[in-house]
């Protein structure tokens, strides 16, 4: 099968269905020791009602990408270039990257059109305020309702996210709830104003496995009921397989491969994606097989490799090419793009083991 080698043009995401279109966003942290390029050219596009999963190891810029969208990157971090086009409820498109991060406009979008839930439900609720006061606060920030009305809505939100005895739990403090219940409460706060987009930054990582499944089910059910889009950040490929429509694989602040969930899982192109997929522990017949791990670690942010940033860890490293040329995004098939020199035009057909059994090939070579 000959892959379609087309350079992506910038206007590939113009249709009405696209809710969020992140284009070549760079978020750098200007520290005393130097500039940390936490996000260095990330692209992603999310359609209405769909779930986009952003995957990658720790430190690859997933969370900073999410925070960049809401403009809550902590100082000394700044968006230095790129566009974050968001289609608002009224139909107009706004570039979030150009807004003042403390301004009225972005604050209207935060919580109103885009909400976010965080990794640790233990610390993302105020320790000295009730759950209810935080939901009511969110409601009153964005909807013109009285306190009593907001309280009623808050109770029904708690009910919606499956918190038992919502009327009583409204006046509970976060430390009186279990981890799972706290994350439910966070979801209630996030969804109180019916946002178009929910950004979930590893919302299940800090929870135990059964609770994880419950929270995932809850998010999926709520998504189906409301039609909102979900940007889901995780390093758990099991979760991705379960909930994603689209997947973006990130490495060192970039999208190295993106596509729909089937092509990412069954036809992964980028060596990093393949390596990630191989690292999933499986039950299979070869019991004594050692668990695969990607060699090396994510490089220190000040020590960014030249060329393709993944080349020092890559099994398919081409000396003289990968360490000199920075690969551009290329469309492999409609909706499936990759940044890898194995698929660059010049090298096409030579050393590209492109078939659906790519993963198996890799197994043999181990």
């Amino acid at each position: 099968m000959q892959p379609i080698h087309t350079r992506l043009d910038d206007n590939d995401a113009q249709d009405d269905e696209v809710l969020l279109d992140v284009k070549d966003v760079k978020t750098h942290f200007f520290t005393d020791e130097g500039v940390v390029k936490a996000v260095d050219g990330v692209n992603l596009s999310l359609k209405r009602g769909q779930t986009l999963c952003v995957v990658g190891e720790s430190g690859c810029g997933k969370s900073v990408t999410a925070r960049s969208i809401l403009r809550i990157v902590p100082p000394p971090g700044e968006i230095v270039s790129g566009a974050i086009n968001f289609r608002q409820r009224d139909g107009g498109t706004i570039d979030l990257a150009t807004l003042n991060p403390k301004g009225r406009e972005i604050r209207r979008i935060r919580g109103g059109e885009i909400s976010m839930i965080f990794q640790e439900p233990m610390s993302s609720l105020s320790p000295v305020h009730t759950i209810g006061s935080q939901i009511i606060e969110a409601i009153q920030l964005h909807l013109p309702v009285s306190k009593g009305e907001a309280r009623k809505q808050a109770v029904s939100m708690l009910d919606l996210v499956g918190i038992p005895r919502p009327g009583e739990q409204l006046d509970a403090y976060s430390f009186e709830l279990s981890g799972g219940m706290r994350q439910r409460a966070m979801i209630a706060i996030a969804l109180a104003c019916e946002p178009q987009l929910l950004i979930a930054d590893e919302p299940t990582t800090a929870l135990d496995v059964t609770t994880q499944a419950n929270i995932l089910d809850l998010i999926r059910d709520l998504q189906q009921a409301s039609g909102m889009s979900v940007l889901f950040i995780t390093h758990d490929l099991g979760v991705v397989a379960e909930i994603a429509d689209e997947v973006v694989v990130m490495y060192l602040g970039r999208d190295v491969e993106s596509g729909d969930v089937d092509s990412i899982f069954h036809d992964p192109k980028h060596p990093y994606t393949r390596a990630l997929l191989q690292s999933i522990p499986r039950y299979d017949s070869r019991q004594s097989r050692k668990l695969y791990s990607i060699k090396g670690t994510v490089p220190h942010p000040f020590d960014r490799p030249s060329g393709c940033p993944f080349h020092p860890r890559c099994d398919d490293f081409i000396a003289g090419t990968c360490n000199t040329i920075d690969p551009a995004r290329q469309l492999i098939s409609p909706g499936h793009s990759v940044r890898c020199l194995l698929y660059a035009d010049a090298n096409a057909g030579e050393q590209v083991p492109v078939n659906s059994a790519g993963t198996q090939d890799m197994d043999m070579s181990n």
Partner: protein
Amino acid sequence: MIWYIARRILYLIPTLLVVSVIAFAVIQLPPGDFLASLISKAEETVDQAQVDALRERYGLDEPIYVQYWKWISGIVLRGDFGDSFEWNRPVSDLIWERLGLTMAISLFTLAFVWIVAIPIGIYSAVKKYTIGDYLVTVIGFIGLAAPNFLLALVLMYIAFRYFGQSVGGLFSPEFIEADWSLERVLDLLSHLWLPVVILGTAGTAALIRVMRANLLDELSKLYVDAARARGLSELKLLFKYPVRVALNPLVSAMAWIFPALVSGSAITSIVLNLQTTGPLLYRSLQAQDMYLAGSLILLVSVLTIIGTLVSDILLAWIDPRIQLQ
């Protein structure tokens, strides 16, 4: 809550008993007694018969436990703290006389410290590592490092030299013996600022550091980001969440203020010639005026314990995480 307070007050009784014994014992520790220090200051020689007579009159010839019993039973049964040898007056009169002004100065100082330090601490934390933060930090450290009595001398000089104000004491000469009137209150207020600023400087500097550190801890917490992510404005966010949480430890520090009401700032008060209890305690210890010293130390202990109780209750009230059991 009521039960909690009742139980805490019950615990007070044995604690105070132990404290009173220790206080009394500590006063007896230095060699000699009030008479010895009196005689050493006397100009003519005192014959032994006279000394013995005085010793008997003051009850100093009796064993310590008898003296202690006389003192403590007087307090418990009759509310009588004994008489001061040096002043020849009841201890309770001496203390009451000075307690009002002591409290006024302390409460004004406390208000001054909080009103000045908390906003500056918040500014310093929010604008971390800016010029403003560094400036506040430097001034804070100078305030912390400068001894209060030195500051008192410098400010007294400035007030006298450049503003022609009668410094020292809490009243202008014409009001010292006057009855309370509006003019006397105004005169008091015009004198009060100096001791309040002097006594408050170190506390302000320390509190700025504490507030800054507490708030910096809180500012990086996820709940702040979460509140920001629901669209709260920066200012509302700051005061509703991190500042609120950062203030909790300060409330528990309020316990220290109560004992300082009585014993604190003795040196500064002597320099400034303030009619407060600090210098009284200092003098009574020097003169081995044991009933006065013992009573003051007991008072300091009681206020320490009450202060701790009050701050515990306040903390339980403002911080839902604290359970009263």
